[in-house]
C-alpha cells in the first residue's frame, strides 16, 4: 500500500544520529537548530506522573507546543534573562536506542534512555529517564512530531526549575 511506502523507516544507527544531534544542539545552546527539528505542530511533553496520558487536561512537568518552544528558546537566548545569569550548561548521554516501529498515524517510534547533567551556579543537577520520539518525514529530513520525556522523578520534589530542555 502506498501509505506504507511513504512511512518513515530508520535503522537504529540512523535513529541514533538524530537523537545525538538533538542532544548536541542543546549542549551547545544552539536552541534554534534544536527547534527546527520539530514539525510546525510538534510538541514536547514531560508528564507530571508516570501514568499520565493527556497533557491537554492533566498537569504536566512541561508541555510545550511550537509557539511555547519558540518563546522558551527566545528567553534562553536573551542575555539579560534573570534565571540564566549565569546560564545553564548541560551534558547529555543518550543510549539504549530502540526503533520500535510505526504507529497508526504513520509515526516511527523510537525509544531511548538519557542521563542529563545540568550545571548552574556551582550546583550540578541530574536528570534521568526515557525518551519516546514520534518521528515523521524522510530519512534525510526527519522531523519530530512528538517527544515524550519520562523523568524517573517526574512526581518528586524539585529544588531547581528546569530551564533548558532535556
Amino acid at each position: 500500500m502506498s501509505t506504507i511506502e511513504q512511512t518513515l523507516k530508520l535503522t537504529r544507527s540512523e535513529a541514533e544520529d538524530l537523537l545525538f544531534r538533538q542532544a548536541e544542539y542543546l549542549d551547545s545552546r544552539d536552541f534554534n537548530a534544536w527547534l527546527d527539528l520539530f514539525t510546525d505542530d510538534g510538541s514536547y511533553w514531560i508528564p507530571h506522573r508516570p501514568t499520565d496520558t493527556d497533557p491537554e487536561t492533566q498537569m504536566s512537568f512541561m508541555f510545550d507546543d511550537v509557539p511555547m518552544m519558540m518563546a522558551r528558546c527566545e528567553r534562553l537566548l536573551d542575555p539579560r534573562t534573570m534565571g540564566q545569569l549565569p546560564p545553564t550548561r548541560s551534558s547529555h548521554v543518550v543510549s539504549n536506542v530502540q526503533v520500535l516501529g510505526t504507529n497508526g498515524d504513520g509515526e516511527l517510534i523510537v525509544r531511548s534512555r538519557f542521563h542529563v547533567t545540568q550545571f548552574r551556579r556551582d550546583t550540578l543537577k541530574f536528570y534521568a529517564g526515557a525518551y519516546t520520539h514520534h518521528l515523521v518525514g524522510s530519512p534525510d529530513a526527519v522531523r519530530i512530531q512528538r517527544q515524550r520525556v519520562d523523568l524517573i522523578d517526574c512526581d518528586g520534589i524539585h529544588d531547581t526549575i528546569l530551564q533548558v530542555y532535556l
Partner: protein
C-alpha cells in the same frame, strides 16, 4: 540604636522578635536566623490556621492525602461517615509514619511496624495480639488511643484548614477580610464549587518563606524580573498564532512599565492577609459567554456580575496560602528551614465552567508554576539573591518605606496608595510581630 544592636548581637537566649520589625523596616534576622525559624514554627505555624488540602483530593471514604502542618506530618482523611479528618501521621505506639505515601486509599490505616490499625477518624481499631497490656496504663481496646486528631479543623467551602492549637481565634476571626479572595475563587464556579486538577506540583525554593510571600504583593518586580520572558512571549505572539490561551498571552503581560502595576488595587487586611486585583483580561469568546450565562443562571445576574468584577491576581491568607484566582492556581507554603521552602502548587477547575477553562488553567499552570515554568524560573533567581544578600552580617535592615505615607484606610483594612506600595509587606510583618510576641 539599641534595638538594632540587641537584635544583631543577641544570642538565642535573649532573642527579641519584637525588635526585628519596625513600622517601615524589617531586620534581616527575621528572614535568615534559624532560631527565628524555630520560633515561627511554634508561634505562627503552631497557632495559626494552616491550609491542609481540598476535599476534592479525597472524594471517597478511605481516601487520604498527607502533608505538613508546621513541623507536624498530618493525614487528611475521608472517613466512612463522609467527614474529613486531619490526623497526626504518627503511630501512637513507636511513632512511625502510618501513611508514607503522599496520597492514596486505605481502609483501615495499618502501621507497617507492628500492625496496629486505625479508622479514618483516627480511632484505634486493633492491636494484634492484645495480650501483655494487662495492668499497664495503656488500653489497646480504647479507640481514643489511636491517631490523634488535630485540635481544630475547619472545612470552608471545600478548603480544609487546621490548627495545632486548641485555643485561639476561630477560623472566621482569623481569616477576616482575607476570606474574600478565597470566596471569590469558589464563587467563580458556575456549579458553586471547585475541584483540584490532578496532583500538586512540589517545588523547593532555597530561600526563606517570607521572601516568597513578600514577592506575592510586589507588583513592581514584574517589570524587571519577568521582562525578558514577557518580551519573548510578545515576540512569539507577533510571529505565530498562539494555540493555547492562558500561557504565552498571560506571560506577555508581565513586562509592563512600573506604572502599569501602580494602577492595581492592593489591599492589606488584618492578620497579615492581602489581595491584589487581576491584571490579565478575563477569557473572551463563545465559551466565555456561555460561562457568564451559567454564572448568571446560578447566582443571578447582579451577583454574577459582582463576582466576575471582583477578580484577583494574587491573594495571601497568612501564613500558608497564596492564590491566583484569575489563573485558578493556589500555592501552599510548607517551610522546611530558614532557607528552604516547599511549595505545593494546585490548579483548580471551576465546576460547571466550559471544558476550555480547564485547558486554559492547565496551560497557565504549566507555563507559570510547573517545575519547568518560565515565570518563577526568574523569581527563584531573585529569591536566591535576596536570601544570600540577607545572610551578610554587616547591614541589618530591609526597607519597606514605599507608599508608607499614601496608605488609605478601608475599615480595618489598608489600601495601598498605589499598586507599587509595600503596604502588604509592612502589614504582613506587623502580623508576624503580633504572632511572635503573643503570650
Amino acid at each position: 540604636m539599641t534595638v538594632a544592636t540587641s537584635a544583631r548581637d543577641a544570642s538565642g537566649a535573649d532573642l527579641d522578635p519584637a525588635s526585628l520589625v519596625e513600622a517601615e523596616r524589617v531586620h534581616r534576622r527575621a528572614y535568615v536566623d534559624p532560631e527565628i525559624f524555630e520560633l515561627e514554627m511554634d508561634l505562627i505555624f503552631g497557632r495559626s490556621w494552616i491550609y491542609v488540602g481540598h476535599e476534592s483530593q479525597i472524594p471517597q471514604a478511605g481516601d487520604y492525602f498527607t502533608t505538613q502542618v508546621g513541623r507536624q506530618p498530618v493525614i487528611m482523611t475521608r472517613h466512612t461517615d463522609g467527614q474529613i479528618y486531619v490526623l497526626e501521621n504518627r503511630c501512637p505506639h513507636k511513632g512511625a509514619l502510618v501513611c508514607p505515601e503522599r496520597a492514596g486509599h486505605s481502609r483501615p490505616f495499618v502501621c507497617m511496624y507492628h500492625g496496629w490499625s486505625f479508622d479514618g477518624d483516627g480511632a484505634l481499631r486493633s492491636v494484634p495480639a492484645r495480650s501483655g497490656y494487662e495492668g499497664t496504663s495503656f488500653d489497646p481496646k480504647d479507640p481514643a488511643n489511636g491517631l490523634k486528631q488535630l485540635p481544630r479543623v475547619q472545612n470552608h467551602r471545600g478548603f480544609i484548614f487546621a490548627s495545632l492549637a486548641a485555643d485561639g481565634p476561630d477560623f472566621k476571626t482569623w481569616a477576616g477580610k482575607g476570606l474574600r479572595g478565597l470566596d471569590n475563587l469558589v464563587d467563580r464556579a458556575p456549579a458553586g464549587e471547585v475541584e483540584v486538577i490532578g496532583d500538586c506540583y512540589r517545588t523547593v525554593q532555597n530561600n526563606n518563606w517570607k521572601i516568597f510571600l513578600d514577592n506575592m504583593s510586589d507588583g513592581m518586580h514584574t517589570s524587571f524580573v519577568h521582562n525578558q520572558m514577557a518580551k519573548a512571549a510578545q515576540k512569539t505572539i507577533a510571529r505565530t498564532a498562539v494555540r493555547r490561551p492562558g500561557g504565552l498571552d498571560v506571560a506577555a503581560m508581565l513586562a509592563g512599565e512600573p506604572e502599569q502595576m501602580a494602577r492595581m488595587d492592593l489591599v492589606a487586611h488584618p492578620g497579615g492577609h492581602f489581595d491584589m486585583v487581576a491584571f490579565a483580561p478575563p477569557p473572551s469568546g463563545p465559551d466565555a459567554d456561555q460561562y457568564k450565562a451559567s454564572m448568571e443562571a446560578f447566582h443571578g445576574k447582579e451577583r454574577a456580575e459582582a463576582i466576575l468584577k471582583e477578580s484577583y491576581h494574587s491573594v495571601l491568607m497568612f501564613p500558608t496560602l497564596v492564590m491566583q484566582q484569575s489563573l485558578q492556581q493556589m500555592r501552599v507554603i510548607r517551610p522546611i528551614s530558614a532557607n528552604k521552602t516547599l511549595l505545593e502548587i494546585w490548579v483548580f477547575c471551576l465546576k460547571g465552567a466550559p471544558e476550555s477553562f480547564v485547558r486554559r488553567a492547565v496551560t497557565g499552570g504549566n507555563v507559570g508554576n510547573s517545575p519547568s515554568n518560565v515565570v518563577a524560573a526568574d523569581d527563584f533567581e531573585s529569591y536566591y539573591r535576596v536570601h544570600a544578600g540577607l545572610e551578610s552580617p554587616q547591614t541589618d535592615w530591609v526597607l519597606l518605606h514605599r507608599g508608607a505615607r499614601q496608605d488609605v484606610p478601608q475599615g480595618s483594612s489598608i489600601k495601598g496608595g498605589d499598586g507599587n506600595s509595600e503596604v502588604c509587606m509592612r502589614n504582613m510583618f506587623h502580623a508576624w510581630r503580633d504572632y511572635m510576641t503573643a503570650q
